[in-house]
């Protein structure tokens, strides 16, 4: 078994908006998906969501606001799963609710140090 990182990316302008009920429905979609991975005993960590602000530090103490001055896509969060192969990780990622909101999932294998 191997750990894979799911990186959730989305256009920061595509953040779900709407009534509290609609937002709750979005949360439910995510929780049902993550819960489904956990129910297969394949969730290593639910990970976290990331705030929409950010700072980027570059050489010579150059600090800029947010990572999104140059890219439209923002990392919104991450999770770690434990599965047998890349294929299996990709299969699970296909169930993510993010695609309906214009986002994508980057799947990366974690190489232990």
């Amino acid at each position: 078994m191997k750990d894979f990182l799911f990186v959730y990316r989305n256009d920061f302008k595509n953040q779900p908006t709407g009534s509290p009920e609609e937002l709750q429905a979005v949360t439910k979609r995510w929780m049902d998906w993550i819960g489904g991975i956990a129910a297969q005993n394949k969730l290593a960590s639910p990970g976290n969501r990331l705030g929409s602000e950010g700072r980027v530090v570059r050489p010579n103490n150059v600090v800029t606001d947010g990572p999104y001055t140059e890219i439209k896509e923002l990392i919104g969060g991450y999770s770690i799963i434990t599965v047998a192969s890349y294929d299996e990780a990709v299969e699970i990622a296909k169930g993510c609710p993010i695609y309906e909101f214009g986002g994508n999932v980057e799947v990366r294998d974690i190489v232990p140090m």
């Binding site: 439910k28 929780m31 049902d32 993550i34 819960g35 489904g36 956990a38 129910a39 297969q40 005993n41 969730l43 639910p46």
Partner: protein
């Protein structure tokens, strides 16, 4: 209460009290002596009482005899005596002055300290439960063997090994230090949780015994709430869980000892008083910021006390199972989550999720698939139920599955 009922009843409650107090006094090294003195006391009681009738105050009689037996023992066994009197914290210079304090306060303190001593992760969970049943609940070896569907020899060996291990590790019968209490409490709660589940989900058809295990686990958890140092939100969460679950004990088996599924239960048999007490403990559990698995499970159990079959209820249960599984995976939680998913999101969605669970050695997995396919594809439902029947070990489970098969067969 008649005498033939009174003695076993007294045995249970008073045996555990006497053993805890004497065990505390002697130390874990001599725990068997404490157990023997308690046993001998009851032997003498049943002999004497059957000849002369019950004394006016049976409990006081028992305590007097136990104290005398303990003092006799100390007097007769010089070696033990020298060792013990040196170790006894509140030992006095003269042996006959050794105080054997069987007051309510000391009994509760001794039982709580004994609980911490027994619940050590260094001995297997089954041995912790066995020792708890013996020392803290006053169960006989045969009763423990029945509860574990085992025999007396196996249980005796298991308990002897566990006592030896605790002695080797020099486990003290004492309250843990304040900074250690949360961690140690975790072990105690795990054992009490398993003890409760042993009764609640046991394969044994002895419903009286099963109820007693649930009752004892609840009683010991309650003991933790009456002590300030251990009355933590997480303890109240576990106690709430036990109350909510126990409220359905009457409804979940029929007169033949067969299991009645949740959706078929007569809700009039649900114990409303236990539900109300559970709510009080759940409120206390909500103090502080901790969210343990017991909190989540208590929340799930609370939803189950709701007699209505609404989408809101089942989605509430589903969301809590999602969170529970994120904290800690277990096959039971995975199966129960999928059942809740079928009630909240519909059977077709649940079938897709169920088929990913990969619990092919578990009869409950096939029972669930059988349920999910019922009215969706009845032929497949029967196929799955037949697989469940092959894997099921207990008679109770087989009867339940056979009933489901005949129900679906009518539809197919």
């Amino acid at each position: 209460m008649k005498q033939q009922e009174l003695i076993p009843h007294l045995f249970r409650t008073e045996f555990s009290k006497i053993t805890a107090v004497l065990g505390k006094l002697f130390g874990f090294e001599y725990i068997e002596i404490a157990e023997d003195i308690a046993s001998d006391t009851f032997l003498l009681a049943s002999e004497t009482w059957s000849l002369k009738g019950l004394p006016e105050n049976p409990v006081a009689w028992l305590y007097t005899v136990a104290k005398n037996k303990a003092r006799d023992y100390l007097r007769r066994n010089k070696l033990f005596n020298e060792k013990i009197t040196a170790e006894i914290q509140y030992a006095s210079t003269e042996l006959h002055e050794i105080e054997i304090d069987l007051s309510d306060n000391n009994i509760i303190d001794s039982q709580l300290q004994m609980m911490f001593a027994i619940c050590q992760p260094s001995i297997p969970a089954e041995a912790q439960i066995g020792l708890s049943l013996r020392i803290l609940c006053g169960f006989g070896i045969e009763e423990i063997a029945n509860a574990f569907l085992s025999n007396k020899e196996t249980i005796n060996k298991r308990l002897t090994r566990a006592r030896e291990k605790l002695r080797e590790e020099n486990v003290k019968i004492a309250f843990p230090a304040a900074q250690e209490i949360d961690k140690r409490l975790e072990n105690v709660l795990t054992t009490l949780y398993l003890l409760f589940n042993e009764g609640y989900y046991s394969l044994s058809q002895n419903t009286t015994l099963r109820k007693e295990l649930c009752f004892e686990a609840t009683r010991l958890s309650y003991l933790l709430t009456i002590n300030e140092a251990t009355n933590k939100p997480v303890v109240n969460a576990l106690l709430a869980l036990m109350c909510f679950q126990a409220s359905r004990l009457e409804a979940r088996t029929n007169e033949n000892g067969e299991q009645v599924l949740y959706e078929d239960q007569d809700t009039n048999l649900w114990d409303q008083e236990l539900i109300n007490r559970g709510k009080i403990f759940l409120n206390k559990a909500a103090e502080g910021n901790d969210l343990s698995k017991y909190h989540i499970e208590a929340g799930i159990a609370w939803w189950h006390t709701d007699k209505q079959d609404t989408a809101e209820k089942w989605d509430g249960i589903l969301q809590l199972y999602n969170r529970l599984l994120i904290i800690e995976y277990s096959p039971m939680a995975a199966l129960n989550r999928t059942y809740a998913l079928s009630k909240a999101n519909g059977k077709p969605a649940a079938i897709i999720e169920a088929e990913k669970l990969n619990l092919n050695n578990n009869h409950l997995y096939y029972t669930l698939l059988g349920y999910l396919y019922t009215d969706v594809d009845n032929e497949k439902a029967i196929e799955h139920l037949k697989s469940a029947l092959k894997l099921a070990k207990s008679e109770t489970a087989k009867i339940t599955i056979e009933k489901s098969i005949s129900k679906v067969t009518v539809k197919a």
